[in-house]
């Protein structure tokens, strides 16, 4: 039962966005209530049993560095660790963990129950209480009205969720979960603009029915680099392999012959789908020349027989799903334990949000996760954390915490959403990040932990650990710069072994390491001291040295970028009637209300000439150009 009827912050939804928001708000000292339709489904991984991936691993590390939960939960539930893109370049390396879904949920529940100021409630929010354009509370189906100062809305796919399997369709927020219909109707009536997106998931298979001998084994890495500093390698769960199979001509023929019975292709699903996580129908139709597509078989956990065949999400009728799956080598006898389905849901046009994720229309209402048009657990968690932080800041009348595009993947994600909107479910990619050579997984803590600490989300003990590591990195870099190798005193054999050739003049270890053919791990031959350096420090030092020139170039670009970011546009700035601006541009600027000139320039259709004009007008208007950043 609830203790009170009044909270600082109420979080609607207990998925990956909701739980980050609730945990952050409570840990920053706000009385927080998290409301969900089903308390047993907190932190449910509705789709694949994995956290991270290319572009997504970066998001998880950022969430962890700021003091969010996702990293710790994944570390605790990890049953396979892989560092992707190891040989594509340091800037694009990303972590991916296969997780035990049950353990993940359990870890989340344990963590949340240990947070003071946080209460959990199973109920349905049917409306928001709004007074004079600001949130004052929520109306619950079972518990009636509840007062609060800010709301974080993170309903995932539950708003008007509609599940499709072949020609059947029924409402539901997720398999066997009811959806939410009253709240989205109320919000629509209050003027929020909605759209429809669709996503889907694959049928789940019974492990006992899979012939693994006909599949290729894909083990994890020997190394383990946890997302969180708090996690230890010793307490890791036992590690398992995934398996790779392939679709074939028969699979494709079955799909093609049944396209009319697919919810997607019979025109039943009208929402826009995810292009980079396409349904198998999509793959077969759009790439008719491909003879085969990969199917990755991933375990959903250590204590479950359910396996997740990644790559064949679809909305075909049950019986077709079975024939299709059984056409794949190794899956001839496969038993489907849960049917694959497509799901359509409401999302709001995210350009209706401030970069703080607060609604421009309703003050005190913050939105996070799939409702904002994204896809993916990691994208959701990142938004949830920022929404939670900013809900707290808004209550305390403090300036919002906004990460910019040069600081974090999170910054790019949110800036893209609120500035450009999205025409399809938005997924993070490293290629979306202009400054990815300086925002990498390896330096995430350096970029964000101080901010997490100043917000009260990273505790002092953890922060001290972080500071220690930073000191070691700096010390080691200095040591490399100062240690000289002299010709004659270094064995030529060792140099030859390193591929370095003879020394003609003295050389510092840093200069040696800068050579493309030299790896830090090999320095031990010449430099016994380097062997004592911890692994994570080695990685960071090596990248810092090897990428130095590029980092310098990119830092110059960032300086130019920041120049416009610092030119704030007063919130009430009047664009109407400014000579030289076209009607189209005036309309866009008026409806989007960009925060600064940089953001204004990223709005589609706003020309550089218009930005130059705006710069003049804003200066002329005598508005103060406070160059205050948030961090």
């Amino acid at each position: 039962m609830l203790n009170k009827k009044k909270y600082d912050i109420i979080v609607i939804g207990a998925g990956h966005a909701g739980l980050e928001a609730a945990a952050a708000a409570a840990r920053m000292g706000c009385g927080t209530l998290m409301v969900t339709l089903d308390l047993s489904k907190i932190a449910e991984l509705s789709c694949n049993p994995a956290i991270g991936g290319i572009g997504k691993g970066q998001l998880v590390r950022e969430v962890a560095a700021l003091g969010g939960l996702m990293g710790e939960l994944a570390d605790e539930a990890c049953i396979q660790f892989r560092l992707l893109n190891t040989n594509r370049g340091a800037a694009v390396r990303s972590t991916r963990m296969q997780v035990d879904m049950q353990q993940y949920r359990r870890a989340a529940q344990t963590r949340l129950s240990g947070i003071s100021h946080l209460e959990l409630l199973e109920d349905e929010v049917q409306d928001l209480i709004i007074d004079q354009g600001a949130v004052r509370g929520v109306r619950l189906k079972g518990h009636g009205p509840m007062t609060c100062s800010a709301v974080v809305l993170a309903p995932g796919t539950f708003f008007h969720g509609l599940i499709h399997i072949g020609k059947e369709h029924f409402s539901g927020g997720r398999w066997q979960d009811r959806n939410s219909e009253l709240l989205p109707q109320q919000l629509m009536a209050r003027g929020l603009k909605f759209g429809r997106f669709k996503t889907g998931t694959t049928p789940r298979l019974d492990r006992k029915s899979i012939d693994f001998s006909r599949l290729i084994e894909q083990p994890g890495d020997a190394d383990f680099i946890p997302f969180s500093r708090q996690s230890s390698e010793d307490s890791r769960l036992s590690q398992v392999s995934c398996y790779i199979g392939k679709t074939n001509a028969v699979t494709h023929r079955i799909i093609r012959n049944n396209l009319k019975r697919s919810a997607l292709y019979s025109g039943r699903i009208t929402g826009t789908g995810v292009r980079y996580c396409p349904s198998v129908e999509d793959k077969v139709v759009k790439f008719p020349d491909r003879e085969s597509h990969h199917v990755f078989l991933e375990p959903e956990g250590l204590n479950t027989e359910w396996w997740y065949p990644n790559g064949i999400s679809n909305s075909l009728p049950r019986e077709v799903q079975e024939t299709m799956v059984r056409s794949i080598a190794g899956l001839e006898q496969a038993v489907i334990v849960q049917t694959g389905y497509g799901i359509e849901h409401d999302y709001i046009d995210p350009t209706q949000l401030e970069p703080s994720l607060q609604s421009k229309l309703i003050k005190g209402l913050f939105l996070a996760g799939q409702i904002n048009g994204t896809t993916g657990y990691e994208e959701a968690a990142a938004q949830g954390l920022m929404a939670g932080i900013n809900a707290v800041r808004s209550i305390h009348a403090e300036e919002a915490v906004i990460l910019d595009r040069s600081q974090a993947y999170i910054g790019v994600l949110i800036d893209d959403l609120v500035t450009k909107g999205t025409m399809e479910p938005y997924r993070m990619f490293t290629s979306r990040v202009e400054y990815r050579l300086v925002i990498r997984e390896d330096n995430t803590n350096e970029r964000l932990t101080p901010l997490g600490h100043s917000l009260g989300l990273v505790n002092d003990q953890d922060y001290a650990l972080f500071m220690d590591e930073e000191k070691i990195v700096q010390k080691e870099q200095l040591r490399l710069r100062r240690t000289r190798l002299y010709p004659g005193r270094v064995s030529d054999d060792i140099l030859k072994k390193l591929g370095a050739g003879q020394l003609s003049e003295p050389l510092t270890l840093e200069e040696l390491l800068r050579r493309p053919e030299i790896r830090y791990n090999e320095l031990g031959w010449l430099d016994p001291a380097s062997a004592k350096i911890p692994k994570n420090v080695r990685t960071r030092v090596e990248i810092n040295v090897k990428y130095e020139g590029y980092i310098r170039r990119q830092n110059l670009e960032i300086e130019r970028f920041k120049h416009l970011e610092k030119m704030l546009i007063p919130p009430e700035f009047e664009y109407q009637g400014l000579p030289g601006l076209s009607l189209e541009i005036v309309e866009k600027l008026t409806s989007l209300r960009p925060r600064n000139l940089g953001q204004a320039g990223r709005i589609s259709g706003v020309t550089p000439a218009a930005i130059t004009l705006l710069m003049l007008y804003i200066k002329k208007a005598g508005s103060k150009f406070s160059a205050k950043g948030t961090n």
């Binding site: 290319i54 996580c277 396409p278 790559g311 990428y547 000439a609």
Partner: protein
């Protein structure tokens, strides 16, 4: 509010048969109606009447007829600026044109700032920056070649080429990004293929940049210096080439103290001739200064003509100077062919048989035609008119060169394929440079392209 309406006299100052006043902007029609009287219903003209000349009368502020004119109406989609435009073809007197402009401004237009019509054309997407530059070059073209060349660009040759190159670059980026973002494993052949693709664009770009080096004569003209020892007759030859007595001539060595510039046109190229002070060791302070200055000026010239007096012995320092000039872009002219040739000079010429030397006489004018031919040959050899000649200014040439260099860096990193992130970085910067040439803004095209061409997604 939309843009205001602008107007200006678009023909040159001074008397002319006709003069044109141009109006552009949302109120162009309304204003044109106020200042004219004709059978044409300006405010609701027919499609068939657009871009045609219609007879009308021009009215002044007091609505009195002041001129018989022709008006042309251009709808936004078919005008230069991309806005509704009206052109009034008046008689070309200063008073008429100014009165017309005055009533137009009175009727609500603003006086256009220099280049504002072109700026609006760029802003409204009618032309890109390279084309806008070309229009400027076209207007300022002094020679036929420069004019033709500029027109090619107005027509969008450079823009099309840049867009083509940019598309090539985007397609390379797309392939590498697909590998980075979707765990596709690159094969060795693929790396070679990327290298070949980058090299292809790089070669085209470097070809264009090289052509631009020669092509600079079209726009900046070609600087030709006449240099040599004092009293060799540089100024006499200078005057002969010009066809008038521009430089002061005296048999006293060192008459020319400062350099003098004059232009002539050879083969469609503006040749800027520079007559310089003779170079010699001297104690005269002023002459010493002028020698120093001359040396600096000569450094900047494209072609150097070294004038020697064939009746005098060639001194050692002159010999050294000759070698230097021949190794740069220049040739030697032996003046005073009317006098007896010095045996030393004769011997010198015989040893340098392969170099065709020009003998002239400033007095008899013998050999001047040969000198002009030689000069024309030099200039055209340096500015061959090939299809790569589509660069008109240094900004474009510089950007092209950087593009080429960035692509080269990308190829340097590529074999070490575990730094695909850096390869992409260099190529991306190259793409930005190309975009800068035509002034387009980057959009999220790479991902777009990946989705169209690849089956991605695990």
């Amino acid at each position: 509010m939309d843009k205001d309406t602008i107007a200006a006299i678009s023909t040159p100052q001074g008397k002319g048969g006709i003069g044109i006043v141009r109006i552009s902007g949302p109120k162009a029609l309304e204003i044109a109606k106020k200042v004219t009287e004709s059978k044409l219903n300006i405010l609701s003209f027919q499609k068939s009447q657009s871009r045609k000349l219609v007879y009308a009368h021009l009215l002044d502020k007091k609505q009195e007829k002041i001129d018989e004119i022709l008006i042309a109406i251009m709808p936004a989609k078919k005008s230069f600026t991309g806005e509704v435009s009206v052109e009034l073809n008046c008689h070309g007197g200063r008073a008429i044109l100014y009165t017309a402009l005055e009533s137009i401004l009175e009727a609500g237009a603003h006086l256009a700032k220099p280049g504002e019509f072109t700026r609006r054309a760029v802003e409204n997407g009618r032309i890109d920056i390279a084309q806008a530059e070309a229009i400027n070059e076209l207007i300022n073209a002094r020679t036929q070649k420069a004019m033709k060349n500029a027109f090619k660009l107005v027509d969008g040759v450079l823009s099309r080429k840049c867009i083509e190159l940019r598309n090539e670059i985007i397609s390379i980026l797309m392939q590498i990004e697909a590998v980075i973002n979707f765990e596709v494993y690159p094969k060795d052949e693929q790396i070679k293929e990327w290298d070949a693709l980058i090299l292809k664009s790089e070669t085209i770009i470097q070809g264009m940049a090289k052509a631009a080096d020669r092509n600079k004569y079209f726009n900046q003209g070609c600087w030709v210096a006449l240099t040599g020892p004092p009293n060799a007759g540089k100024s006499s030859i200078f005057n002969l080439l010009l066809g008038n007595d521009r430089s002061l001539i005296c048999d006293k060595p060192g008459t020319t103290r400062d350099h003098i510039n004059e232009s002539i046109e050879i083969e469609g190229i503006e040749v800027k001739l520079m007559d310089t002070a003779g170079i010699r060791k001297t104690k005269n302070k002023i002459e010493k200064m002028s020698v120093e200055r001359t040396k600096k000026q000569i450094e900047k010239c494209d072609i150097i003509i070294y004038v020697l007096d064939q009746s005098k012995k060639i001194k050692r320092d002159q010999l050294k100077e000759t070698e230097k000039i021949l190794s740069r872009n220049g040739f030697v002219v032996f003046n005073k062919s009317d006098l007896k040739i010095n045996p030393y000079v004769k011997k010198f010429i015989e040893t340098k048989k392969n170099k065709s030397n020009i003998h002239v006489s400033a007095i008899t004018k013998a050999g001047i035609d040969e000198l002009l031919d030689k000069l024309a040959e030099k200039i055209t050899e340096d500015s061959q008119d090939n299809e790569n000649n589509i660069i008109t200014n240094i900004r474009q040439a510089d950007l092209l060169k950087s593009t080429g260099n960035l692509l080269k860096s990308a190829r340097d990193i590529l074999p070490n394929q575990d730094s695909l992130d850096l390869v992409v970085y260099e190529i991306e910067k190259a793409k930005e440079k190309i975009e800068e040439i035509i002034g387009i803004i980057t959009k999220d095209e790479i991902l777009e392209n990946i989705f169209q061409k690849f089956c991605v997604g695990k």
